[in-house]
Symmetry: C2
Subunit: 290 residues, 2 copies
């Protein structure tokens, strides 16, 4: 997806929140905001590519490689504390319920606006799971692909959210799954550290994209990621950033012919809402067949 003019204030307000939270003097904050704002004014292929440049610059200019370390630890800890409750919630028809839960947990996001990972998160999440409706066609094709696949690539999104992803992993043929997280910290996206912290690495093979983009930029991904992408018979794609970077990128010769990408995410901004003919806040279950 190409960036739109709506993306510019969104990115600026995001880095403003990040810069405000950094322990830097006022003058350094101004210089940093100016530099990051100049980056935002550049041309990008996709909005997550802009975030890649921003977080690379923050790391290089301030030495702060991960402004969201604490936020991610808190999200993981909160979701882990809810795990028994969430598991009980999904008792009936676990796969279907956990698919809903996994999408609902995508609301944990510090990229756009405030996260919703507060104290009342358990209640919110519970309500949302019950309100979510998976389109019949999506669910049917998901089951078929899952049963047929020899290799499933699961591309994750945010910390905290990956605890719900872990519940979904439990409902899938675990031995066939390769679970991909970000190669470097970017916003509150899950990294290898997060996967280790919640014990996901003990359940499935976890790899990284090898990249700092909060999405997939094929030109920057590691060989290992690209190899797994090319071998996958089914690709599960969580979150808006992954959607923005994978929905319309050419994939011929990069993934197997006929492979389906199953996108699950909350629609978080106007450009994506318009692109998907949905509303901000809607749940998106979208299939792309290559």
């Amino acid at each position: 997806m190409k960036p739109t003019y709506h993306c510019i204030p969104c990115h600026v307000n995001h880095i403003y929140r990040v810069v405000s939270g950094l322990t830097l003097d006022e003058h350094t904050k101004l210089r940093l905001m100016q530099e990051l704002t100049r980056i935002i004014a550049s041309n990008f292929s996709t909005p997550p590519d802009c975030a890649h440049e921003l977080y690379t610059a923050i790391s290089q200019l301030t030495g702060i490689d991960d402004p969201f370390t604490k936020v991610k630890k808190n999200s993981n800890a909160l979701m882990m504390s809810l795990l028994p409750q969430l598991r009980a919630e999904c008792g009936h028809n676990p796969l279907k319920q956990v698919l809903k839960l996994s999408l609902a947990a995508n609301m944990i996001d510090y990229g756009i606006g405030d996260s919703n990972c507060g104290e009342d998160f358990a209640v919110t999440l519970k309500t949302i799971i019950h309100d979510i409706c998976i389109p019949e066609e999506f669910y049917h094709k998901f089951i078929l692909a899952m049963e047929k696949a020899e290799s499933i690539l699961y591309i994750a999104d945010n910390a905290g959210e990956i605890v719900a992803d872990m519940l979904l992993v439990d409902c899938l043929p675990k031995e066939k799954i390769v679970f991909a997280v970000r190669g470097y910290p970017v916003i509150n996206d899950a990294t290898l550290q997060d996967a280790q912290d919640i014990g996901l690495t003990q359940k499935v093979k976890v790899i990284t994209t090898g990249d700092r983009t909060p999405g997939i930029n094929l030109t920057r991904c590691s060989k290992e990621f690209l190899l797994n992408l090319s071998q996958a018979d089914m690709i599960i794609v969580k979150g808006q950033g992954n959607f923005e970077t994978m929905i319309d990128v050419p994939l011929d010769g990069i993934v197997k012919t006929g492979v389906k990408l199953f996108f699950l995410f909350k629609v978080k901004c106007l450009p994506v809402a318009e692109f998907t003919y949905k509303k901000v806040g809607d749940n998106a279950f979208i299939i792309r067949e290559v």
Copy 2:
């Protein structure tokens, strides 16, 4: 006042609102937003200097010289329709009441956040006038300066607001007043057209700053404005933009020694709140003696 890192998202969100309202295709809006965002990332002496560059660029790049024509006409018309009511409101101790009204009307602002110039504006304004308290020292010195002055320079701020300024002008020695508006359209700041529209030009001598800054940049002002500035025995300065550009600029040799600048404005953002030891939303009656 120097810009701070808080000014960057504020400027970006402002131009986003402006660009959103322009009749341009999406691609042109993106290119325009990128160009304006690059400007915002530059170094400026004051925040209004940034707005000068932005509105000059909007005019040059789009041919739209005044995106706020309609907004300003509406603000003027609304305030003119309230004039009898406002005049009645100020019947008791007109000067004191009208000083309050003139400050309260500074809430009409499209530069920061939304304006408050809606249908319920009369009620809001009435409440605010009653809540405003003019510091005794300010009022006392204002009266003294007014009685002593041979020449009063009144530097205006926004359209609509100038109707309240006109009521204040009625309480001052009109023949001694030179009333200054912006030389070119910038945000919803009052221009000569607005002064003519409300009939202010029939009451006092109206000049312009000769400049597009929503404040005073001495290097860009017309000779006529600088001459009136140098001759004034009392300077009344409305609005935050004029405050930001005139509170700490060197004025020795530019205005008469001992002259007082009487600033009246609503505090509209964190940097100005911190600078003035006030809160956002507070009323500021501040004197600068040169």
